[in-house]
């Protein structure tokens, strides 16, 4: 089996899907790319058993066949070539691979393509189409809030709820929660599933920058979701489990409303948090009248910071403690000039949202919730 391919094109495509490769695999075949040649098209796949990504590359060939190629070796080699045609000569019988470039020849040994895990096929699933911009935005708003706890796998993914009214994306790590709703992107049927964060991160990185809008086709059933766009296909196993009832923990009555300039608030917290304890990053917010006091201290080093910024506040005076990391992440992921922080009690969640003025009819709704720390005074 022989084919000729542009070195930079192949390198670019392999780089984009290489994110799925783990550094230490239990199965050696997972360190390989699967090459499937079918006349003038090459399909390269990478898998970690949970997620499989494949991309197609144009080649020149008359043959058909498949072989698994050591990924690291190939990636490292391709990176060093300037743009030029490369000739791959692959022997599917004794698994020898020979690459010829302008400079010379390189030989490596592949593996039998049968060893490569079978790529699941979605049968009897539903499908929908979605704008790439919507998906990119939904992912960038939610992914940061996912958890990392192996004991609670459902929180290591993003919950996607589809209905004929719109779509909802939810992520939480039990300390913070983000709910992103779109009313302008709809599905035909009602469904909900949890997609692990690794393939979503991968997807976010593969998808071209905003501005270049295209449609993404999504297919799903009980166990898998399948994304396809342009020359890329991504299929991943869904997280099996019950997502916590997030709506029940979002407080409905929040009488204390704080309007504040987002950039000023973010910068204030960034500065003050430098003086907070390096492990717990806790800051204290104290609102009295129209003044917001932000303070932090690290008793171990006798560090202390106090700042005050003006805000627009309705409600009773309140003193509430937060992990500054969470606040910083959230404020950085909001876009408007002004944000609204709604609170009810020092032991109950604070809710951050964007203040959009009159032009609220853009079909999206973003809610960020952060749990406070238990202050005892």
């Amino acid at each position: 089996m022989k084919f000729i391919v542009s070195s930079s094109e192949l390198s670019k495509q392999l780089q984009s899907i290489s994110g799925v490769l783990n550094t230490n695999n239990t199965l050696p075949i997972l360190d390989d790319f699967l090459f499937e040649v079918n006349k003038n098209s090459l399909v390269v796949s990478a898998s970690d058993l949970e997620t499989t990504v494949s991309c197609s590359v144009d080649i020149e060939s008359k043959d058909e066949g498949s072989i698994a190629v050591p990924a690291r070796l190939l990636l490292d080699t391709l990176k060093t070539f300037p743009e030029q045609p490369l000739t791959f000569l692959m022997d599917t019988e004794n698994l020898g691979i020979e690459i010829s470039s302008d400079y010379g020849k390189y030989k490596l040994t592949g593996h039998n393509s049968d060893e490569f895990p079978k790529i699941p096929v979605i049968e009897g699933g539903n499908s929908l189409e979605m704008d790439s911009a919507v998906l990119i935005r939904a992912l960038s708003k939610t992914l940061f809030a996912t958890g990392n706890d192996e004991l609670r796998p459902v929180m290591n993914g993003v919950l996607v709820e589809l209905s004929s009214d719109g779509m909802t994306f939810v992520a939480t790590d039990a300390h913070k929660l983000v709910k992103y709703q779109r009313t302008d992107a709809k599905a035909d049927s009602t469904a909900s599933f949890i997609i692990p964060k690794k393939p979503l991160n991968l997807l976010k990185n593969i998808m071209p920058e905003e501005g270049d809008d295209f449609k993404i086709k999504i297919e799903y059933n009980e166990s898998n979701t399948f994304f396809s766009f342009k020359n890329i296909n991504l299929i991943c196993r869904l997280i099996d489990g019950k997502y916590p009832n997030y709506d029940a923990v979002i407080p409905k009555e929040n009488p204390n409303k704080l309007h504040v300039d987002r950039a000023a608030f973010l910068n204030c917290i960034k500065r003050v948090s430098i003086f907070a304890n390096k492990t717990t990053h806790q800051v204290k917010l104290k609102v009295t009248g129209s003044e917001l006091h932000v303070s932090a201290e690290d008793l171990d080093f006798a560090n202390e910071a106090n700042e005050r910024i003006t805000c627009n506040y309705e409600g009773e005076d309140i003193e509430i403690g937060f992990n500054s990391r969470f606040l910083i992440e959230m404020l950085a992921n909001l876009d408007t000039e002004e944000v609204l922080l709604e609170m009810s009690a020092p032991n109950k969640a604070g809710i951050l949202s964007e203040v959009k003025g009159d032009s609220k009819e853009d079909g999206e709704d973003l809610l960020m919730l952060v749990m406070p720390v238990m202050l005892n005074n």
């Binding site: 300390h175 717990t280 806790q282 171990d300 009690a345 032991n347 749990m371 720390v373 238990m374 202050l375």
Partner: protein, 405 residues
């Protein structure tokens, strides 16, 4: 003249001295302070009692056999703390930099005071002030570093003082027994003695490499101390790295329920200290000592917390893993370590508002009406789990003399 001058102050037979202040009829008699039950040990003994061969950490029974007419007092930690604090206050008033290294010991850094006053003279005056104001007998040693100062205090005792000037540290240490070096415990002493090392001058003449081969890193430390080298600074603030609680039973027990109740009590109490000190723990350790002194402990890392309901569960879980010998237990203990400053991060799904409010209410009640005013039902029956004041006040834990390493 000193480049560095360190004074080590030690209150002689501190617990006994306190008892004598309360009851002067004890003066001049052999007095023992310590546990009076079967398992009790001598925490402090008067110099009259020492004449009978009694020393601290000796089982109380043995001490009573040695000196049947000795007066035994159970002792009261609270009273001793009060006297200790009184001494601390005097030192705080006079000393530029001091370290309270235990309930009855202090280090004071008086470097540079020579220039104006004289370190020795200053220390003597401080001693007189303390004696005058508290009535407690006190000894001190003055030297160039903490180790030599401490050794010289021990040489000066009782109720006396001593100076080891700069340059004569080594000859001062040379004739003393190696046992006098802080750090050389029974085990090390026996080992060195077995090799014919009896006096510090032998260690002084040994090559450092040999000590390292014998005792590892500790060997180097002991060798340095033997040379009179010790650069450790006087640290004013003592940061707690862990808090723990343990109990040795009057009688060994195999009553699992009782053991678990006691562990729950300790877990609850320590968690309260954490919350009061605005601390969180991320490592829980449980220790069990069986009746044959076989001591086992197990630890587990947890997400930062200060909530008893999670910590008690962890403690009981560890105990279930640990206690598997079906042998009587002599001691159980709980320790929280890897402490950080901070308040508990409330969990969105696992914690309810009621739970958090309950913690705050309980802590409020405890701070107002005492630690035992509210407690869990399982912990109602357990008594004798040690109480302490705020463990995060920057002072060292109150460890009686006999438990010191």
């Amino acid at each position: 003249m000193y480049n560095r001058a360190i004074v080590h102050i030690d209150l002689d037979a501190f617990f006994v001295s306190c008892e004598r202040l309360i009851d002067s009829s004890l003066n001049g008699k052999p007095v023992l302070v310590g546990g009076t039950s079967g398992r009790g040990v001598v925490a402090a003994c008067s110099y009259e009692a020492r004449a009978y061969g009694i020393h601290s950490a000796m089982p109380m029974r043995m001490a009573q056999q040695l000196c049947p007419h000795a007066i035994v007092i159970k002792g009261n930690g609270g009273t001793y703390s009060k006297y200790s604090d009184a001494v601390t206050d005097i030192i705080k008033e006079h000393a530029p930099l001091y370290e309270k290294s235990s309930i009855d010991e202090f280090y004071i850094d008086v470097s540079g005071m020579d220039k104006f006053y004289g370190c020795y003279k200053w220390a003597k005056e401080l001693r007189n002030t303390i004696i005058k104001e508290t009535g407690l007998p006190i000894s001190f040693g003055l030297s160039t570093n903490k180790t030599v100062a401490k050794v010289s205090t021990n040489e000066a005792k009782p109720n006396n003082y001593m100076e080891v000037a700069q340059g004569v540290e080594k000859p001062f240490l040379a004739p003393l027994s190696i046992k006098k070096i802080p750090m050389v415990g029974d085990q090390t002493y026996k080992m060195l003695q077995g090799m014919g090392i009896e006096h510090i001058h032998t260690v002084q003449e040994m090559p450092i490499e040999l000590m390292e081969r014998l005792l590892g890193k500790n060997g180097i430390a002991i060798w340095k101390k033997a040379q009179g080298i010790d650069n450790t600074p006087v640290v004013a603030y003592n940061e707690r790295k862990s808090i723990s609680s343990s109990i040795t039973f009057e009688r060994d027990t195999i009553d699992i329920r009782k053991l678990k109740d006691i562990l729950s009590t300790m877990a609850e109490k320590l968690a309260f200290y954490l919350r009061n000190g605005k601390k969180l723990t991320s490592c829980v350790t449980v220790t069990v000592r069986y009746s044959d002194f076989d001591t086992r402990s197990r630890q587990v890392r947890v997400p930062y917390t200060s909530c008893d309901h999670t910590l008690i569960k962890k403690v009981i879980g560890l105990f279930d893993l640990l206690y598997n010998r079906r042998v009587l237990a002599r001691l159980v203990g709980v320790r929280y370590s890897h402490l950080v400053e901070g308040a508990y991060q409330i969990n969105l799904f696992e914690d309810t508002e009621e739970m958090i409010n309950l913690y705050q209410a309980m802590d409020k009640i405890r701070n107002r009406f005492g630690q035992n005013s509210v407690r869990r039902v399982v912990t109602m029956d357990t008594r004798g789990v040690g109480m302490m004041s705020n463990p995060f006040n920057g002072l060292p834990p109150v460890i009686p003399a006999h438990r010191r390493a």
